[in-house]
């Protein structure tokens, strides 16, 4: 649970000498080749890198969706490499939030039910005020009774963002959240995420290949060939784009 009194420098999640290898011997592919990284609390961190750099793998391993071949990953002080499948599921349910490129809403549940789904599964009740705040922030107040099939892509993604934020998770992991949206809607979604960090102290880790999206973060980490090769504070879209161009050169 994020608390307002926590010192701003403590880490929400970290990886220590994280390695992820597919295959073995000659054919082995190192998706992560020894990454050590910390994601500070109450900050918006973006992970960038060319295709195949391991950025998605890094996020998935830290978020407990995938297991490291060696090294360890922590959510807060919990070493998630020590947890079994069910413990991992419960950890995700209680402490993490997710936003995906494909909105991944349950088609048979209304927008409201989708937003509340993680809490329904946990058997907890949302703070009504907080729920209203989030719903108002993402601008979905009047469409809560609709099924996903009755919403536009942008609206569906707002529901997905709200679903990630309402339970007040320790960290929200976002994988290309604007990848499937037009640029105007994408900007809206990114603004919500930025405001969630600024106004409510939410920690967000986002994987993206879009320099503009990355510019909403506090810090951008650059991955190449499974290793962190650079980082950038207070990024702008132009500076990130310049840095990305160097990978191709």
């Amino acid at each position: 649970m994020p608390s307002a009194s926590a010192p701003p420098v403590s880490t929400a999640a970290r990886a220590v000498d994280a390695r992820k290898t597919y295959g073995a011997g000659e054919a082995a592919v190192h998706a992560l080749a020894g990454v050590t990284v910390s994601f500070p609390e109450r900050e918006f961190t973006a992970i960038m890198g060319p295709s195949g750099s391991g950025k998605s793998t890094l996020m998935q391993c830290v978020a407990g969706l995938d297991r490291l071949t060696s090294g360890s990953a922590y959510i807060g002080d919990t070493d998630i490499s020590q947890l079994n499948k069910t413990q991992l599921t419960l950890l995700r349910r209680d402490r993490l939030g997710f936003i995906f490129q494909q909105y991944n809403l349950i088609p048979s549940l209304t927008a409201r039910e989708n937003i509340l789904l993680p809490m329904t599964l946990a058997g907890t009740r949302p703070d009504p005020e907080w729920f209203d705040t989030i719903v108002r922030t993402v601008g979905m107040g009047d469409r809560l009774g609709n099924l996903p099939s009755e919403l536009s892509g942008g609206q569906q993604q707002r529901v997905a963002v709200a679903r990630a934020l309402v339970p007040r998770p320790d960290i929200v992991f976002a994988d290309e959240p604007t990848g499937a949206l037009d640029s105007r809607t994408g900007i809206e979604i990114l603004s919500f995420m930025r405001r969630a960090v600024d106004e409510t102290g939410q920690t967000i880790v986002m994987v993206t290949h879009d320099p503009h999206a990355a510019s909403y973060a506090n810090t951008v980490l650059f991955l190449e060939d499974g290793q962190i090769v650079d980082s950038m504070e207070a990024p702008t879209a132009d500076r990130v784009l310049d840095r990305m161009k160097r990978f191709e050169g």
């Binding site: 998605s56 998935q60 969706l65 995938d66 499948k85 069910t86 599921t89 419960l90 995700r92 349910r93 209680d94 939030g97 997710f98 995906f100 490129q101 494909q102 991944n104 349950i106 088609p107 048979s108 549940l109 789904l117 993680p118 329904t120 599964l121 946990a122 679903r163 994988d175 290309e176 990848g179 499937a180």
Partner: protein
């Protein structure tokens, strides 16, 4: 195109697995039934040759129902030695064999009887007419020698040289086993084992010393028909002579008819199972088409015509159908071998020496399996042909849960018209069509049932939690698919319910009608032996036995018809049994007077036809004269003084004479039959005590007075159970259908499942969700099958009542129906085992993978 089809089948092998299993199961069952029936038919027909191969003239009872071996028929006529001697003396006759059988048993050292179902047989000395082979030892030729069949020897551990005590009609007889026999391909000629007895003992042990035969077979030289014509002159009344060829044809036909009927019946169930398999196939291909929409659209976009698309699907169906059918035929053969093996291990055996692969069965199985598969693929293939190229660009297949209005109207019309036709129809055709229409309506309306049923069950399942809620939602996302899956189960459950309800109603009706005819509590019969005073007093000593009415009975012909005539204490008989006069008076019996069964039309009003072996064609009335002829050909005329009301008991008595007249005709023979009256009390203990007495006397059979009612009840119960068992075959295939649908649907929803697990649904709950959905589908299918089965059964009973005089009251076996419902849900849970496990084995990350 063919290459595309084949690669597609290979690529989608997993998905086709359920389809294959459905076809293989159905076709396998079909061919196995064919193989086994053919083998049984062959063997039964072959046995006819083994048994009667050299018979040129058969002297058999005129009444075709009393064939050889019906030793327990109390009214049986015998061929006397006199007649046989005259037959053997005919020119051209070279030898003969008389058949005489009777119940025997062995007495063990511990004083208990064993092999109580065995049949004692007079050993046939004519080697050409002897049906049995001696496997080891020798034939029983001298007094005290017997031979037992191979099966009996194996089961009871009997060997050549053993000294045993045989329980016969003449009492306990010491005997030595001198040979082990077999019959054709099988061990014994008789179901409970065969004990061959030498000529020296057979008449004493099996027929109270009388030299008589049940049937007699002759062999001779010259034209069979000439021999028959000769024999006709000396054949005793009640019997007729038949040429050996005709006789064998008749026997073969009897044997074959039974086998063929059995085969047709069993194959009908196999076809039903295959039709249920059709639903599974249809469903699988529908899902495959939906999943491959993009692929099909790409094909359409690059120029495949609708016809080509359709044909590609049909070819896939054909390929699967052929492969499945071939595997099915193989499975059928293996199944037959397995059954044979299992029976062998458990000490039984299938009749016949070996299973031959009948071409008709193989071709039938192949054609049936393939045709049903191709037909089931028709509709999905048409759907595939309608694929628009644009669908290649769409994101995912749009699931439609909309149901057209026409469907609703058609469903309603079919159900209403069907029920109306059933309830007011006057002919079997109208009623049958009505029922068909009703069932068609149920099938068409099944998606509504799926939708409505799921909605209704939602409040309950929601209590389980989010997984319950999602299970309901998933099942109505594609109500047509849910409905088709449930329909496969519906058919089976519908038929099981129909058979259970209609069958039980009929059973209760029939048993009730029979039981209306009052009768004595027990009927004790001695076949060949007598009910002597010692035995009567033993019976009277059994607690709760209040009165024993023994009477004497002899087979005779009256006016040429085979029947029995009896004599006993009239007071006892009328008190204990339901024997009373419907015209005239039994008190008028005396010299030259007789009382016969009432055969006038007005006396036949009872629902059950009981007039077996009674005076039929002409209507005998009080005052008529009848001609009575006994076994030895003595004839005498009698005046009818009374007609006996037909009842279960009076049929046993037949005609009545006064004791003196009886003595003058047959001599002072002892009673062979007795009616027993029992106080109401400890019923089962009384029954056991009577049976214990009877067990030590192999000649004695005990029937309960309501035996016919019980027998009818038992037959109905057996039929209901057998049919239900066979119908379970289709339920098993429906189960495969559920597994298939669930597996495919979790594949389709892998992203959704991945998401649920990412945001915190534990694996247990995901599995529970899949299980609940499966159970829900099974529940809906079972319940609608149950209800439609109930409706149709009730409609049938009402129609029968309306069209006939009968008033059958519907009896609903509630407990069984609840059992079926529970079983249905249990099957649903069972079907979910594999898909549920697979649902949590899919990678979570599918939810994140874009595109």
């Amino acid at each position: 195109m063919l290459r595309l089809v084949l690669s597609s089948v290979r690529h989608n092998a997993g998905r086709y697995l359920a389809t294959l299993v459905a076809i293989v199961t159905g076709v396998g069952f079909y061919t196995a039934v064919g193989f086994i029936s053919d083998r049984v038919i062959d063997s039964l027909e072959g046995n006819v040759d083994a048994q009667y191969g050299n018979v040129d003239v058969a002297v058999i009872p005129e009444d075709p129902t009393t064939a050889e071996g019906a030793a327990h028929d109390p009214a049986e006529l015998r061929i006397s030695q006199d007649s046989v001697d005259r037959l053997l003396a005919l020119p051209g006759i070279e030898g003969g064999a008389g058949i005489l059988t009777g119940s025997v048993a062995f007495l063990g050292d511990d004083g208990r009887a064993f092999a109580t179902g065995a049949t004692g047989r007079l050993w046939v000395t004519d080697p050409d007419l002897d049906p049995l082979q001696v496997d080891s030892g020798e034939a029983p030729t001298r007094s005290g020698q017997i031979a037992v069949d191979r099966g009996l020897a194996d089961d009871e551990g009997l060997e050549v040289g053993d000294d045993v005590t045989l329980l016969t009609l003449a009492g306990k007889e010491p005997a030595t086993i001198v040979g082990i026999t077999s019959f054709g391909d099988s061990d014994a000629l008789d179901d409970g084992g065969t004990v061959s007895i030498s000529e020296a003992d057979a008449f004493d042990w099996l027929n109270s010393g009388q030299h008589e035969y049940e049937t007699y077979y002759l062999r001779g030289s010259g034209d069979q028909q000439d021999l028959v014509d000769e024999a006709d002159a000396v054949v005793p009344s009640g019997f007729r002579a038949q040429t050996g060829d005709d006789f064998r044809d008749d026997q073969r036909e009897t044997a074959g008819t039974f086998g063929n009927t059995l085969k047709k019946g069993l194959q009908a169930f196999a076809i039903l199972a295959l039709l249920v398999g059709g639903f599974v196939i249809y469903n699988t291909f529908s899902v495959i088409v939906a999943q491959r929409l993009r692929e099909l659209a790409v094909l359409a976009a690059i120029g495949a015509t609708p016809r080509q698309l359709k044909r590609s699907l049909r070819l896939e169906g054909l390929a699967i159908g052929v492969v499945g059918s071939v595997l099915g035929v193989v499975a059928g053969f293996v199944l037959t071998l397995l059954l044979d093996l299992v029976l062998r291990v458990t000490g039984n055996s299938l009749p016949g020496s070996g299973t031959t692969i009948g071409v008709a069965n193989v071709v039938g199985g192949l054609v049936l399996g393939t045709v049903i598969t191709v037909l089931s693929v028709m509709i999905p293939a048409r759907r595939a042909a309608r694929t628009e190229p644009i669908e290649a660009m769409r994101d995912a297949a749009v699931e439609s849960n909309r149901l057209g209005r026409t469907r609703g109207l058609i469903c309603l019309a079919l159900v209403v018209l069907g029920l109306a036709a059933t309830l007011v129809g006057t002919g079997i055709a109208t009623i049958g069509l009505g029922l068909l229409a009703f069932m068609a309506g149920v099938f068409v309306g099944a998606p509504y049932i799926a939708k409505g049923g799921a909605r209704l069950s939602r409040p309950l399942l929601e209590r389980v939690g989010m997984e319950g809620r999602l299970a309901v939602d998933n099942s109505i996302r594609n109500p047509k698919r849910t409905a088709t899956t449930a329909n496969a189960l519906l058919i089976g459950v519908f038929l099981v319910t129909l058979v259970a309800v209609a069958g039980n109603s009929m059973k209760d009706f029939a048993v009730g009608e029979v039981n209306k005819l009052q009768s004595a509590d027990y009927l004790v019969t001695s076949t060949g032996g007598t009910i002597d005073p010692t035995f009567v007093s033993k019976l009277e000593q059994v607690p709760d036995v209040s009165r024993v009415a023994p009477f004497r009975r002899e087979p005779v012909t009256i006016d040429g018809e085979a029947t029995v005539v009896s004599s006993g204490d009239l007071g006892d008989l009328t008190a204990v049994a339901n024997v009373r006069a419907s015209a005239g008076s039994l008190d008028d019996l005396g010299p030259g007077k007789i009382a016969v069964l009432d055969t006038r039309p007005e006396a036949q009003g009872s629902a059950v036809e009981l007039s077996t072996g009674s005076v039929q064609d002409q209507h005998v009335d009080v005052g008529s004269t009848v001609a009575l002829e006994d076994n030895r050909g003595h004839q005498q005329d009698f005046t009818v003084v009374a007609l006996i009301e037909p009842s279960l008991d009076s049929v046993q008595v037949g005609s009545l004479l006064d004791p003196d007249t009886f003595d003058s005709l047959f001599g002072q023979v002892a009673p062979t039959v007795a009616f027993l009256d029992v106080d109401s009390g400890a019923q089962s203990e009384t029954k056991d005590a009577i049976n214990d007495l009877a067990d030590l006397r192999p000649d004695i059979t005990v029937q309960e007075g309501n035996a016919i009612g019980q027998l009818i009840g038992t037959i109905f119960d057996f039929l209901i159970k057998a049919v239900t068992g066979l119908l379970l075959m289709s339920v098993v295939i429906a189960l495969i259908g559920i597994i298939n649908t669930m597996s495919l649907s979790i594949l389709e929803r892998r992203r959704e499942l991945g998401l649920l697990r990412i945001i915190g649904m534990t694996d247990n709950r995901v599995r529970r969700m899949v299980t609940l959905e499966s159970a829900l589908i099974a529940f809906l299918g079972t319940l609608s099958g149950l209800i439609s089965g109930l409706v149709v059964a009730l409609a049938l009973v009402l129609s029968i009542n309306r069209l006939s005089e009968a008033t059958i009251s519907p009896s609903v076996p509630y407990l069984e129906l609840v059992g079926i419902l529970v079983l249905g849900v249990a099957l649903g849970v069972l079907a979910a085992l594999v898909p549920a496990r697979r649902s949590t084995r899919l990678p979570v990350l599918d939810a994140i993978a874009a595109g």
